[in-house]
Symmetry: C2
């Protein structure tokens, strides 16, 4: 290992700026840990003329990626520019040129993680991506090392800050989804096009990464069943509250007898569940292991410095591996083939809110339909709606299979005495 | 590395039994991670005749520690028997014989950690001790690797399950310390001699270990200021509750300008603080880093399988290091010299409960004493006590130095109009 480690930085947005700042401010600590100085020697930017708020210590600023990828003096590439297809090409080039890679790119890792890790190993290079899931929370390390001895059977993650912020405010302020989204956009907690966040896609990418690691099984983005929060209403949240639950956008990854399910959807959790206390833009991942039982990892899911902390921690690991001469040899691929559960193997409780005709026989018709699908009630609430000839029926079911539940749902939607199914959600975290 | 890794296990109590069980049940996963089988070949027990509930797969059971320490075929020693002085001797022998060590022994690591780590490195051996702090929570790894790039400025830990159980029950059931302790002993959550737990010593050992790692500075047990929970009363907890606080036994480690303080004491936390939701026997460590901000690691602090998970995760790390040929080279010693804060540099808020004479001039005498020590009030509550000629005054101060606070405390205790200082606690976690 040379007397100095040279880093090429791809991207100088929020996270990139944080990376430069941490490397420069924590130089003494970094040097102590890895035994030599580390310097960012080249930075790829989109616009070379733009004013930069950070000091580069003489780094070369370029808008040509090949200046970075082909520089023989650069040991490590940090990729924080985003993008998928072209970024994949660039990182493959970097790895084939013998450069280690640290990335914060969840979209890329969810889609091409296996390929990139394979090419890294073939070229004796490291590829680390802690920052791709839950920003400043060292969850990938905890799954790979800290809980290495255990068999993880369940992970539940609040892994998208925007949606957690929106749901928290809707509950605390009794506001509508639309109003809170607008407020979140003004405050910078939501993008101007919030689709990837609010429709659950961002969380799904992260859950694919976590499931792959936690279950040692290649889980792809297409394996994740996804539903966002845009249809959650104030009334839903009020009923949840009355019944002792809160609502979170939960990424769930569960394994039973070697078969897995992965989903992202708005989910009811008991107010006493550790994840129920994770508010605003914070993230947390709850991990259940056969031996360890319940653990939870909590922290900021995004932001310049938190995410940059994860990136630079990976950088430290890469540099330690270089010093020890073990680059590209520290990570194992998945142990198991991918086996997904069928709908008859996915078990859950469900919350249903129905608008029914307020007349004799309705209740009997509804309950007998539940019974014929072998779905039983844990909680049941019927409320008349003032001034109308309809009532609301709120149900929380006992555990049932997704297959039974979906068959029931179809029949309910066809039943004459039911005016509409107002909403339905999965319920987790109980006994 | 040979075709099989051989482990000698010292101690077959709660944790030792869990270790044997995890190694045997998770053999396939372990083999995938380290590339070869791992076997417990020798087990040290106190009484060879005792019936064992675990299956040993033909391991040799002995009551002579030299059978294990001198066996040339054993690669790794797992120490889960406890003890300090003689255990130190044994592990030094093991390390000098070239054996890697994994230990769950916080007493040993708090007192002799630096020495043992030094001897391990000198002999090219690994020494890992994740299980010594907060059982199943991978907090040591998170401090050493996950937050490696950050500068940690504050850690607050609920690192003793017994005291957290007792305080939780006192609050939930409105019971006295004595009643809950008795109940905890009956349920096995407290030892028959609970002194080390309830007087804060156990937590102090863990905080010395965490401070050493988090601040990269050798902090010893003697550097930790310690106070237990045995004087906490029902009334204290009721007043806390009224004022919006909960009470936890908090291990606090704080760094300002390179100077540190470490303490363990019953502490008021706002009910909205992430640590306030950590109930019963659970542990959690809240870590504040300059870059990452707030993070928290939550999980079981004790128990057979949770603690054994941490032990076996360390075992996996040791075996990976053996395979990569980097044993004894992965850990750095502290970067900084130890610099402790003086009392005038330790800043905190305080809760004080005073019993004062209910007569004209009392309030003025008390408040002017506070003012003359430059201690101002954040909250103040005066309550008459029915049928007596005394009143209670409850104060929460603004931030002040420990030096000012202790000078004030002394004067208060000498003041004629104050009958007694009923209780006083540190207040943390606010703004």
């Amino acid at each position: 290992m040379s007397a100095e480690v040279r880093v090429g930085l791809l991207g100088l947005g929020t996270v990139g700026t944080g990376v430069v700042s941490i490397i420069s401010r924590h130089q003494e600590e970094l040097r102590h840990q890895v035994g030599c100085p580390v310097t960012v020697t080249k930075v790829l930017v989109r616009d070379k003329q733009k004013h930069r708020p950070v000091d580069f210590d003489g780094a070369f600023i370029t808008d040509d990626i090949n200046d970075v990828l082909t520089d023989p003096e650069i040991d490590i590439i940090i990729e924080v520019m985003g993008g998928v297809e072209s970024t994949r090409e660039h990182l493959l080039t970097a790895l084939k040129n013998g450069k280690h890679v640290v990335t914060a790119n969840k979209d890329l890792m969810a889609l091409y993680g296996s390929e990139l890790l394979k090419v890294a190993a073939e070229n004796g290079c490291d590829l680390y991506y802690e920052a791709s899931v839950a920003g400043g929370i060292p969850i990938i390390r905890s799954l790979c090392d800290g809980l290495a001895a255990d068999r993880i059977t369940k992970m539940m993650g609040i892994v998208n800050g925007t949606t957690n912020y929106i749901l928290t405010k809707m509950i605390q302020e009794g506001s509508s989804y639309e109003d809170v989204l607008k407020q979140a956009q003004e405050l910078g907690f939501a993008e101007s096009d919030p689709t990837a966040d609010v429709e659950g896609l961002d969380a799904a990418r992260k859950m694919a990464i976590l499931a792959t690691l936690g279950f040692s099984m290649p889980v792809g983005l297409d394996d994740v069943s996804v539903r966002g929060i845009s249809s959650v209403t104030k009334s839903d949240l009020e009923y949840c509250d009355q019944l002792g639950y809160t609502m979170k956008l939960i990424g769930l990854a569960k394994r039973d007898d070697g078969r897995v399910e992965v989903s992202v959807e708005p989910t009811l959790l008991p107010k006493t569940h550790p994840l129920a206390a994770v508010h605003n833009e914070y993230n947390a991942v709850y991990v259940y292991g056969e031996a360890v039982g319940e653990t939870m990892f909590y922290g900021p899911g995004a932001g310049s410095l938190p995410t940059a902390t994860a990136v630079v921690s990976d950088l430290v690991t890469v540099m330690k591996n270089m010093r020890l001469g073990v680059s590209g040899r520290t990570v194992q691929g998945p142990l198991h083939e991918r086996v997904l559960k069928q709908d008859n193997e996915i078990e859950s409780k469900y919350f249903l809110r129905l608008r029914v005709l307020d007349q004799a026989g309705t209740f009997q018709a509804v309950t007998s339909l539940f019974a014929s699908h072998e779905v039983s009630f844990e909680k049941l609430l019927q409320l008349p709606i003032e001034g109308e000839e309809v009532a609301e029926v709120i149900v929380i079911t006992h555990h049932t299979s997704k297959q039974n539940y979906e068959a029931l749902y179809k029949k309910l939607s066809e039943l004459d005495v039911i005016e509409s199914i107002e909403s339905c959600y999965r319920v987790e975290g109980g006994h």
